[in-house]
Symmetry: C2
Subunit: 248 residues, 2 copies
Amino acid sequence: MTSCDHKADTLARRCAHCSLRRLCLPAGIDREDLPNLEKIVRKSPPIDEGSFLFHAGEESHGVYVVRFGSFKSIRMLANGDEQIVGVHLPGEVFGLDGMANRRFNLDSVALEKSGVCSVSFDQLESIFDRFPTLNRQVMGMMSREVSERHSHQVLMGRRSAVERVALFLLRYSERLESRGFVGTSFALSLSRQDLANYLGLQIETVSRTIGKLKEQNILEVDRRLISIESFEHLRDAAGVDQGEAVSF
Amino acid sequence: MTSCDHKADTLARRCAHCSLRRLCLPAGIDREDLPNLEKIVRKSPPIDEGSFLFHAGEESHGVYVVRFGSFKSIRMLANGDEQIVGVHLPGEVFGLDGMANRRFNLDSVALEKSGVCSVSFDQLESIFDRFPTLNRQVMGMMSREVSERHSHQVLMGRRSAVERVALFLLRYSERLESRGFVGTSFALSLSRQDLANYLGLQIETVSRTIGKLKEQNILEVDRRLISIESFEHLRDAAGVDQGEAVSF
DNA sequence: GAGGGCGGTTGACCCTGATCAACGGTCCCT
DNA sequence: AGGGACCGTTGATCAGGGTCAACCGCCCTC
């Protein structure tokens, strides 16, 4: 796949050689059509930890894909607090909810040094008719997004602290794995503070809960380095049956 | 608007004369094009309280709009419990998340005797090219759906019982009002059980919380009949600033 | 109209997780 | 190396809401 039988310029090579190709937008595109898509994709310069990719209310020009690093989507509350409503890992698409009114609904902050690709809405829509599967692909991403929200809603609804944390870790692990990373041992991109916020808990509770899972030898923990020692017991702690799907 | 200068058959008159027209799919359609849309809309027979409109996993043929009554969208858990992830009032669209893979992700249950209109996905997509605004319209509905999830996530994240109940009522009222109903006095379509489930609380807590709001003369309550006596105090209870938007 | 089921309310008690507080380790900066 | 900020952990206490239980009123059926 790395050998080229055509004169590919660096632009056209972007997607074709990207490790995330099969998970990303191009998944709906035939190999020979790929260069056409690649023309409308732009790489961003790296974004530092803690800095905003975009702010809610700003005009939105396109959709983003995480190339490396990770982002959190947050809703700012009137009292100054923030509520994290989404976490985006490499290969995941975000910002789609701005497609309708061309305006961001959320703030997006890099959780670490990160990079994205962006695709312009206008250009994306302009090629919908040429790539009918692409329209479907985008719809699919949106509905996937909705489904993910539903899952999180299940997590937040009347579940204990252990269940929330365990479920979160299982999903996080699964998402990493589906993206070609190691799902058993990883660096959490979220701080305890962000984790607590996302799970609707308090920072001390998260710390204690993780501590407990560590004591039970279900996890190995060193700050943000997590290693899952027993998926079986972690699933138990999460309150999901063995074999039951954990996400979506 | 009720006078007709063209020979409208009963089919074509459906949307043009529907009280929900401006909130529904036809909002993106010019008046003269409306008959074309109406051709692909089908009215369902009434659905009894408690019966399923569709089940998760079933093949999905289209999207639904509540004509009258209301529905809940639920996610069935492995242990038999259900989690309510959405409530749909008249004029609201649901089932869009099945568009991508032509399969329902959720179960949908009528909360009372209800009726829907349905629009076939295939037919909807087939007229996308003729009505470019319609594609945008559908995208808009999806992203609105996502935004609504985000709001609910804010509601569920580290908020007290009173805040949850008050916020829910404010939003419910607002949705009714935007649909042309009276927003100050209404019959809640959800049982206390469903309400508790949706808000991530216990049924007794919901009952007590509503009771407290009643004692403070913020609400008048008779079972499911709710009358909001003071929006100002209800907003206080919900923890939102006066003037701050309550939904989305 | 007696009986039973269902939905909702109220009371008493208890437990999970929030809150307040102090401490330890790591990183960064000079 | 010292100082300080930040992140995470741990302990002690407290309260919001979960849990268990009884009860009430409405509706339905027979």
